[in-house]
Symmetry: C2
Subunit: 361 residues, 2 copies
DNA sequence: TGAGGCATCCAAAGCGGTTTGGAAATGATT
DNA sequence: AATCATTTCCAAACCGCTTTGGATGCCTCA
């Protein structure tokens, strides 16, 4: 149901039915139609029914822009995705997180607006999004250990939510995170309990807050067990498969090689596994691996006995929850900082086993 | 620069500077300020300068909703991401494609609005997005062999763009695709030239148009070489690592096993490689693999000699191009269907070599 | 000197909704 | 029968911007 409406400078635009038109055909005022559709009490039931049916028939939808101009609420949430020009990685967990968040937004009648910007322009993107009134709140991705975005967004006085946390900030803010530290402490402890003493950590970039916390958990477990920390067993980089592969090959060449590896992502674990296999070592018998598993749908790690022992937490579910927290914040800004720390579950798979004595190199 | 403005029903909202306020402090009319900022000629250079500086100082940004209400253009593009409830896969190429498209939108001053909906509600999502005037155009993801969305969007009279194509449609529409058929024909031909006669195809779901075209290319090459098609060597499924692994293990058990495999994605190729390695076979010597490589940043396949021989095409670049085609369509709807067929490049890596005679099972 | 042309600016009318502040009709109450 | 409360509806203002259609003042030129 479209009509052709000439607009001001002579352009011809295709427009959907408007409230006014709908009111016109019904012989009612726009006021009444608006109230009928929005469930206000001061309208006759019969009238309301008539209006609803007409709206249905005409496939009427209120114009979002007009509506939010009038109400002052954008009914939209902003996500700013910085793409760094230095390391061109598009974080694969974004997709699942966004899918989860998007489900929540859709159900709640919110739009999701995405801005993909060079990371140098990120702050500007937030400012712009907010100054233009394009969104009611923003979600923050990929927090660093030290992240200036808490201060920035606090200043902009907009509801915001971090997926993950940042360190060295006293100012309270809202976040949803997994318990990275506890998760990796526990995983390391699990390996220690199996008799491993040489445990490698193949981590993500340590400027990322999650990586830092995982390392802390790892270090805690070692310390608790009285195992000396060996920097040669700790790596951090962009989490790719070849990175995992190289880490394994190179570390296994050490005089006193690790018997167990902890990986920060499934992709890295794939690389480790390939390295093992190239060295003729058997996963879970000769060498153990525990990986973090974000439960990405295209990297399944399930079955009766999952391939990898893993600290598992669905990033998609995190997206759902973070989104609904943010919506709560938007609808009641007073409700101050909201935080949630999700625990991961340690899923025991086929990739771990007791430490075997190594012939010394 | 914020002011506290009381709004109608007593809520207190934080608002940015408005045109009217800016005009007020400058002692000018909103008209003049608007024109000064939008570069209209009928304003004194000195005045324009004064206005620009004041706007800068006040961090003024025109309210998007008001602006687009007035102009009738949303300055936004919609992406609908269907998440099927049956197979819960969030396609990993979405992320890179969207990153690419997003870059283009940002530069052009367009917003990207994402709707994540259960696939049953997809049509409704398009209708809704358009009826509400929330977007000026839409991008269509993951086309099937038979896709009703061409008809739907044509009916809705909105500029739209397919990432990929659909088959069995006579109606013209705009799309950007890679030459899947030629790509896989060429890859298969490459393997045939190396002496392979038993070539497996480990494909994506065949309801997806890309998978269908790849199969056609594969079949063409076989036929051209007079090689009989063996259904036992053709698989289609959601593209995960375990799927690749199982395909390899099971097919290698066949009486007359394939000496080469073609994979529809890097992830599947990872699975194939693992299978090989478990069977003690050497990649590129005992068995060859060619995979399609979307050039995802976290699945790198480069270096002097890439790990995999691959048909390579950056899906991120596809996103950039598709987006700019869509914007062209939005800005000049008359410019009818725009199409682009990107060729992939066949990158020769370490995963292919001459066929070796197999001991018959 | 007066008409015409320019350069600058502005008031007001939209865009498509929501919300305020009545008004008219109906029913209940005294 | 007059008063008052309810119910049901509507006119008009407003959200923040753009655009139309002047208005004003100054300069130029016949």
């Amino acid at each position: 149901m479209h009509i052709i409406a000439p607009i001001q400078h002579g352009l011809i635009l295709l427009m959907s039915v408007t409230l006014k038109q709908l009111a016109g055909t019904l012989g009612l005022s726009p006021t009444t139609v608006s109230r009928a559709l929005n469930g206000f009490p001061e309208v006759n039931d019969a009238t309301r029914k008539r209006v609803r049916e007409a709206a249905e028939r005409a496939n009427y939808r209120p114009n979002t822009r007009a509506k939010s101009l009038a109400t002052g609420r954008a009914q939209a949430i902003g996500h700013v995705i910085p793409v760094s020009t230095s390391h061109e990685i598009v974080n694969p967990v974004f997709a699942d997180f966004i899918a989860g968040a998007g489900e929540t937004y859709s159900r709640a009648g919110y739009e999701m607006v995405l801005r993909v910007v060079p990371d140098a322009d990120e702050a500007q993107a937030y400012r712009d999004l907010i100054a233009r009134g394009a969104v009611d709140g923003v979600m923050v991705h990929g927090p660093r250990q030290q992240d200036s975005r808490v201060a920035l967004l606090g200043e902009l006085e907009v509801p915001f939510m971090f997926h993950g946390r940042t360190s060295n900030i006293d100012q309270p803010y809202s976040w949803l995170d997994i318990n990275n530290q506890r998760s990796f402490r526990r995983a390391a402890q699990f390996l220690i309990d199996l008799g491993h003493r040489r445990i490698a950590l193949v981590n993500g970039l340590e400027e990322m807050d999650f990586a830092n916390r995982r390392r802390n958990g790892y270090l805690e477990a070692l310390e608790h067990a009285g195992i000396a920390v060996d920097p040669a067993l700790m790596r951090q980089a962009e989490m790719t498969e070849p990175y995992g592969y190289r880490a394994l090959i190179e570390m296994r060449k050490l005089p006193d090689p690790p018997t167990a590896f902890m990986a920060s992502s499934m992709i890295v674990a794939y690389g480790l596994r390939r390295g093992l296999s190239d060295l003729g070592l058997k996963l879970g018998r000769d060498v153990s691996i525990i990986t973090h598993d974000d439960d990405l749908s295209y990297l399944p790690n399930d079955g009766d006995v999952p391939m990898f022992t893993a600290t598992k937490s669905s990033v998609r579910e995190a997206g759902r929850r973070a989104a609904s927290m943010l919506l709560r914040l938007v609808e009641a800004p007073a409700s101050a900082p909201l935080t949630e720390l999700m625990e991961t579950s340690l899923v025991v798979g086929a990739s771990t086993g007791p430490a075997v004595p190594q012939e010394s190199g």
